[in-house]
Symmetry: D3
Subunit: 237 residues, 6 copies
């Protein structure tokens, strides 16, 4: 029995509320259990220097956590600077969201996805990718509706989920209590058609075996498929 | 007629939702019209060096704005460092909340109030003070209920509101559109019993007269009295 | 009796010595009692990005304090970075000096006022405004004499003074010893014609009443009028 | 045919020269083709705060690249600060080396592994792990020889290699030219007994399939086994 | 004929005004022609970590230049951080002042010399050393008078002067205009008894010969002897 | 007898290995005893702003030390920022290398010399100058061979060596153990024809006399002449 009482292959309840920002071109508040992330998409008419005059667009991401999103308060990153962990996470989110992107179809414009964790209970980077994609989708829909973009630059859904080995048992979608005790921790980013975008698996203490990895990957396929359904419902919403 | 269509002495609709954080000792989400601020109170067993072994407690505040809280996206402060404006605001919030505080009654512990603006439409520093006081009140209630603090260290409510001179007319509680056009901008921090805690009034372009200042102060007295009622209702919850 | 032995409505002795810098376009050393501030005005042919090609000019200010300007040595800001207090003060000085400015008459050029406190004994921000305006006036005079500016861009004098409530008594122009003990601390920026430019009043400990505030404002009107006379004498000098 | 002319499953020539530092407790210069990394192990008698008085030791890693290790010169990190990429890599190296570590056996001391890239041609993080483990092994041998550590705290070899999908073909140990063109890029960290320590696989452009991932993993098993042999030879050296 | 019209071996007029700070333990304003430096000595009861519990004292120096000390305004170091030039100069001043110091006689206390350039016209580092020593001397005199230090920890005067080769001619005490054109620039720090403390000589463009160096050294001996006399007069003051 | 056992006028064994970088336009690894510095020259088609459109070129230098180049590990400068010592050294190297440079002959391009200390045993700044000049020479040779530069912009060799007074005896080329104990420490930069480029001599504790200085200068002349021969052999190599 896992600490959360869920079945080994059960996601936490997911809700994705769209249109939560009066200003952003796309936005949602994603809740994966007690992990809550506010995702906004901001459209800017310029691209980074290396893309100027190429006709190609760019999607980038930034990630932050409010100081008291966690059990005990963390120092504010605006005061101490971004940690290595934060930079690593926002680089992951950006790569993941670009995986489903046709940069030529987007044209020479940039969309910045801000993922700010209001409350954390494990899996914040995965929730940021899943929610960030919804914010991106809504911003792109707006561009297409306005006729500024002709062909859909988003080729597929992108969603992410964590898995872990807990007491020898592969589990889907770990919360913080489970994650702290897990022997191996893995994040999987996948597309709506099941293509692999990114895998990050790390042993904590003991190494993991090929069989354990395969079991986690199978759980992730199930989990991301459900998250993609939640994305679809939210956008249709 | 003011841009928002409100009467000159009308506040925007205020709502204060408490208990919005699973982790913080006190929390609320305050909405003053379209300005939304998440306020959390974090209790820490230590005080700043200058108070060690004095038996006195401390309340401090930090302020932040999500990058896309505003009409166009601002650079993330975790990347560029806190601006002078941010530091000025968080110093104001801290001073304001300490005005109603009996430091000896609190005892040698620190409460940090984090005010994070999720959506901005003018008056974010005032909303942070009004909401921050609620989060502080809830955290202190928890301490008192647990018997850790005997005498109530909060001597009175503290609330804040902005006023301005717009087209020669004194107005209460400016939204962003009104504030951008106002000739004078003032923030008033007051207690539940009407004591003055802080006044910050600044001319933008033309100077202001004694009569204009007096009119703004009268509006602020009305406004903060209503905000104090909203605080009471929220805490009674 | 106040600690300094002055009457409640007495300024400290003021002296403003102009032309103290061999290089600056305008300069003065202002002494308000033992508070000494070196003010220089530097003319630059460029304006900040948001004013380019608008034909409008800009005045900005920077503030610093030598490490041993104070009773005990402070860490050098060049080593630790500017504190929030420093940034707050220099923003105030800049706003104050722009209040008396016709930006179109100045034309597309910038004047930077540097206010460096050589010795501190309370009231450094007010002395910086009063002295900074003199340096600005001298730099503008030079521009006008050279025919580079046709119409006077300085519409009025700007001067500032602090007031406080000390032992229940409103006092003008607090020195450091008085300020440390005062229950309320206020800074008033006014023009030569008595217009209000900025008011910053803050309770320290107890709140202040409307009557106390009014008494401080009346003192400030007297005080700034005398400072404006000192400015006139210095410039005529 | 891959750009380097190597067989799909061929490592670049590996050499590990030990004892290259006169000062470090353990050191080596690892060359994987034209990628050259200087690895040193520094023993320090203190541990990070979270481990004090626990009896447990710690291994951490830092990574750097000389400005002209690359085809065109990069700005020196000592001037601009560590990039997100650098922090991500040094966190990976540290985690990898701790995977084979018995912290209780090491006792309350810290070993810092510095991996400085003298010349880069792809695969620098993998070379750093493989070489860093050798430096760590040598420093631990020294501790054991001196009788300061009784039981061997290194439970197994740790080595790493990159793989990629190039033109649809899975390849082992990509050099920079191959890596720039690869559609998917993966790093595998494994132990001497074949346990998995860390997997990082990321699509560049197109997603990758389960079959492609499995092929890369098989190549990595072959590659790390050969690197472990090179480690053994170097240490026996 | 040199640009300043002075004889090749003539110092600029020197004045050293002591007691210019109401707060510092020792202070002076040194004027070498148009170069004006405010020097303060601050006594602190602690020493740097490497000297704790050794019974030895420490003298250190910091250097700064007001933004408009120069012909055109420089960016404020509090905003951009200390430049390499500033750090190099303050390290030189500290070393120079420690050369005449008996650290055991001073006892376990630190004196920090702040040298702030109010106006610059060449030779600011030399004026800082010469004036800084006076501030140090006055602070030590105070300690001795108070009986806190028994034996004089200052073994000799320390003074500094610049020399240069201008149009093939060795010159003493260059001002800014001369320094900008000089082919070689040298700073000499010497004691009252003529001992050498530090020599920094650098070619600008062409190299310099042994004979040119010897001529500069002879000029420096004359110059520092006169500066030592000025120090004596100021202290006797 | 000096600690190293060398004669007072004996250099440590010098070796200069060229072509050690696959990417840099010029490179060498210089070994002066146990001090090892990797020097690379990077050609860039742009010059600093103050030289744009002047037709003049620029040579600049950066210096770094690997964390474990020293007996005990130093904190990585990429983490803490460049120290004052590092900035002082790289400014010296840059000035030294520009002393032998005809900027017009180089044309509007910049060459950056990176000097990274792999292992330190005293004299790293001198080894950086001597080795840095070799890297510069090789990069310039490449430019001349390619016909991009017509006239040789390097007018002479530049080399550097340290001297010191140890136990009253002048010594050439101090290693770390000797340098730590020396009463005076001096660095001399000279050209192939014996011209003086830079002298930096500093007393540590006691002052030094004219005679001592002259003895050090004589040793330096001998030492740099031998280093210039080593440069010639390496380039011819």
């Amino acid at each position: 029995m896992r600490p959360s009482g869920r079945a080994a292959d059960a996601l936490r309840p997911v809700s994705i509320e769209t249109g939560v920002s009066a200003h952003a071109e796309g936005s949602c508040l994603i809740r994966c259990g007690r992990t809550h992330v506010l995702c906004t998409a901001s459209l800017e008419p310029r691209v980074p220097p290396f893309l100027r005059n190429t006709g190609l667009g760019w999607v980038t991401a930034e990630y932050g956590m409010l100081p008291r999103a966690t059990t005990s308060r963390n120092q504010r990153e605006a005061k101490k600077g971004q940690t290595g962990r934060t930079q690593e996470i926002q680089r992951l989110i950006g790569r993941a969201l670009r995986a489903g992107l046709d940069r030529a179809a987007l044209g020479e414009r940039q969309i910045t996805i801000d993922c700010d964790v209001l409350q954390a209970d494990g899996g914040t980077r995965c929730a940021s990718i899943t929610g960030g994609w919804v914010a991106l989708r809504l911003a792109v829909n707006k561009l297409m509706k306005a006729g500024e973009v002709k062909m859909d630059p988003l080729m597929d859904h992108v969603a992410a989920v964590s898995c872990g080995i807990f007491g020898g048992m592969p589990l889907l979608d770990l919360d913080y209590a489970e994650d702290s005790e897990a022997g191996t921790d893995a994040n999987f980013v996948m597309t709506g058609r099941g293509g692999l975008v990114e895998i990050q698996a790390a042993a904590e203490g003991a190494t993991f075996s090929r069989a354990e990895f395969d079991a986690m990957l199978a759980l992730a396929e199930t989990g991301t498929a459900q998250l993609v359904e939640a994305q679809k419902a939210a956008i249709a919403g």
